[in-house]
């Protein structure tokens, strides 16, 4: 079976702009594990999920793996999804947050030497890699809380409005604005910290 795919990447909130019924219909089909519905969800949300995950992880390969796991997890739990409370995008981002959190915990528990060995065994520093995510951000992110990371990625990486961010984070608009301000300040402090600069290779 081949999933029918659409070439264009259309943000879910735009593709469903015609109304809640369309989105709810998609959610119902997804809950029934309709392959076409899942193809639509994948096409509509992959960039969002990947970017959200990638912003918090140092490597593209692990971001790709986690992003894939987000859709696999969502598909496996499709019959537990209740559209009435949560848009699909928020549900996917919630899954992504949990998987990233687990992944980061595992990384932090790993002995440094072993981690180095494992990383070099499959992800050698590669001069041909398409993208080197800005190392400054990667290091600075360690100084931010998970909520701060989330609000920054939603607002400035995924270009979501304050209202959308509030909806996705289940917060009020004012809370998001406050969080955003503190997160930007923390990021700026981290970028300027002299001890952080010494960490750079």
């Amino acid at each position: 079976m081949k999933l029918a795919v659409r070439e264009a990447e259309v943000p879910f909130h735009e593709s469903a702009a015609d109304g809640r019924l369309e989105a709810e219909g998609l959610a119902l089909r997804a809950a029934a594990r309709d392959p076409d519905a899942w193809a639509e969800i994948f096409e509509g949300h992959y960039r969002t999920v990947f970017a959200f995950v990638r912003f918090r992880l140092p490597g593209s390969d692990e971001a790709e793996d986690i992003a894939a796991q987000v859709f696999e997890t969502a598909y496996s739990r499709a019959d537990h999804f209740d559209y009435r409370g949560v848009p699909i995008e928020a549900w996917l981002i919630g899954i992504a947050r949990n998987l990233v959190r687990d992944h980061v915990k595992k990384l932090s528990r790993r002995p440094p030497a072993r981690e180095l060995d494992e990383e070099t065994s499959v992800a050698l520093p590669d001069a041909t890699s398409l993208v080197d995510l800005h190392q400054d951000i990667g290091a600075a992110m360690r100084h931010l809380t998970e909520d701060q990371q989330t609000v920054l990625s939603l607002r400035f990486l995924l270009d979501r409005s304050v209202a959308d961010t509030a909806r996705l984070m289940n917060r009020s608009d004012d809370a998001v604005k406050n969080l955003q301000r503190r997160a930007l300040a923390a990021m700026q402090r981290a970028l300027l910290q002299s001890d952080y600069r010494e960490e750079r290779p």
């Binding site: 079976m1 081949k2 999933l3 795919v5 594990r33 392959p35 899942w38 994948f42 992959y46 960039r47 990947f50 970017a51 990638r54 912003f55 593209s60 390969d61 971001a63 790709e64 793996d65 992003a67 894939a68 796991q69 859709f71 696999e72 997890t73 598909y75 496996s76 494992e118 070099t120 065994s121 499959v122 992800a123 050698l124 590669d126 001069a127 041909t128 890699s129 398409l130 993208v131 080197d132 995510l133 800005h134 400054d136 951000i137 920054l152 990625s153 607002r155 400035f156 990486l157 270009d159 304050v162 604005k177 406050n178 955003q180 301000r181 930007l184 300040a185 990021m187 700026q188 970028l191």
Partner: protein
């Protein structure tokens, strides 16, 4: 910090316009400028992440399609607890195999465990290397041979993951020096094969050859794309893939020191590889950027051919006749009838002919040709046909 509501309003406007509103006090201006810098740094990474997302999307889509497909089957394992594939390998390389039933049995168990553990975790690499519709040549170690007749399925361990192989009706199965192939392959058997990639990334093999019984479990590596023009990369061909129109191909290259590259190559390179040895895996090559205006496409120079045992299922000769879908080819082993099918990849890059000229009756007569595909007696079905220049004196 100033009062939240006023400052938040100023920040909102600053984030939209990129400029600090004129009514901001000097203290607010200083803070706003700092926050704008931080926001700008994050936004600046957006394009890079988009590029990564676009690059990874086809691979992840293929993995998700496969996941959905497998989830639709009964008794599918739950996806939770997926282990990174890098942890699954690194088996002891010193497993003694040769001729020992005990060792063979042990290897069978190890290979089975490895292949089952690897199936999900290497999906990404397999999906990247094996594109549906492509013709491929690859080597691998048998971990399982099950089913009967058309339902027979081999599981091969390769350097890029676990590959499911089924045998097409009429597939040619041979065994190197010993001649007769076994009724069933054993775990640890070292195979080389060619065939077409199906929609589920399995390979429908047209030709399979047993090289030896002493295969070592390969060290699996995640291939990288060699997207930039990096001349002078040398290595060993692991996989050759040819697109359905024969105009382009891909090579998975083991460049040593743990580096595996997946590169796009032009049709002339495919022709060179096929002409050099009929079966490209094992050949040592040097990659160079394509001299034309095709960024990301490489040309291949063959430095050394694979070991002789890797040559199989090929004819080399001169076209004597061409009528419709049938060629008569004169070779050092006699005269063969070669059949062209809808799936035959016809590569004309070194012939000086275009497709219309070749496909006409009599097209290509007098030209050198290399045919790759299953051979039975004096007939061959062409998977790949590489037509070369006109033979001297023809």
């Amino acid at each position: 910090m100033s009062e939240p509501s006023r400052f938040d309003s100023l920040l909102d406007r600053a984030l939209v316009t990129g400029e600090v509103p004129p009514e901001a006090t000097p203290e607010e201006r200083r803070e706003l400028e700092e926050l704008l810098v931080a926001a700008g740094v994050i936004r600046a990474t957006s394009a890079a992440i988009d590029a990564e997302a676009a690059k990874s999307k086809p691979v992840t889509r293929a993995r998700f399609e496969r996941f959905v497909q497998q989830a639709g089957r009964p008794a599918t394992a739950a996806p939770w607890g997926r282990r990174p594939f890098r942890r699954m390998f690194g088996l002891p390389r010193g497993l003694a195999l040769a001729g020992s039933a005990v060792a063979a049995g042990l290897l069978a168990v190890v290979l089975l465990v490895v292949s089952q553990g690897a199936l999900d975790s290497t999906d990404t690499a397999v999906a990247e290397v094996l594109q549906p519709g492509d013709y491929v040549q690859l080597d691998g170690i048998v971990s399982d041979d099950s089913g009967e007749g058309e339902g027979r399925v081999l599981t091969l361990l390769t350097e890029f993951g676990s590959v499911r192989v089924s045998l097409s009706p009429g597939a040619s199965v041979t065994a190197g020096d010993s001649g007769e192939p076994p009724a069933r392959f054993r775990p640890g058997d070292n195979l080389t094969l060619s065939g077409n990639v199906s929609g589920d990334r399995s390979v429908l093999a047209h030709a399979v050859a047993l090289l030896d019984h002493d295969g070592q479990p390969p060290t699996m590596m995640r291939p990288r794309h060699l997207g930039r023009q990096s001349p002078g990369v040398t290595g060993r061909v692991v996989v050759l893939a040819v697109t359905s129109d024969g105009n382009q191909g891909r090579v998975l290259l083991d460049a040593g020191e743990g580096r595996h590259y997946l590169v796009t190559v032009d049709s002339e390179s495919i022709s060179k590889l096929i002409t050099a040895s009929t079966h490209a895996p094992g050949a040592r090559v040097t990659l160079s950027p394509h001299e034309g205006d095709r960024p990301g496409v490489f040309t291949v120079a063959v430095d050394s051919e694979p070991m002789p045992g890797h040559r199989m299922h090929g004819l080399r000769g001169v076209i004597l006749e061409h009528n419709g879908d049938s060629l008569e080819v004169e070779t050092a082993r006699g005269r063969f009838t070669v059949t062209l099918t809808d799936d035959t990849r016809i590569i004309l890059a070194q012939s000086g002919l275009d497709r219309a000229e070749f496909m006409a009756d009599g097209g290509g007569v007098g030209h050198h040709v290399v045919v790759v595909g299953p051979i039975h007696d004096d007939t061959a079905a062409a998977d790949v046909l590489a037509v070369g220049p006109r033979a001297t004196g023809r």
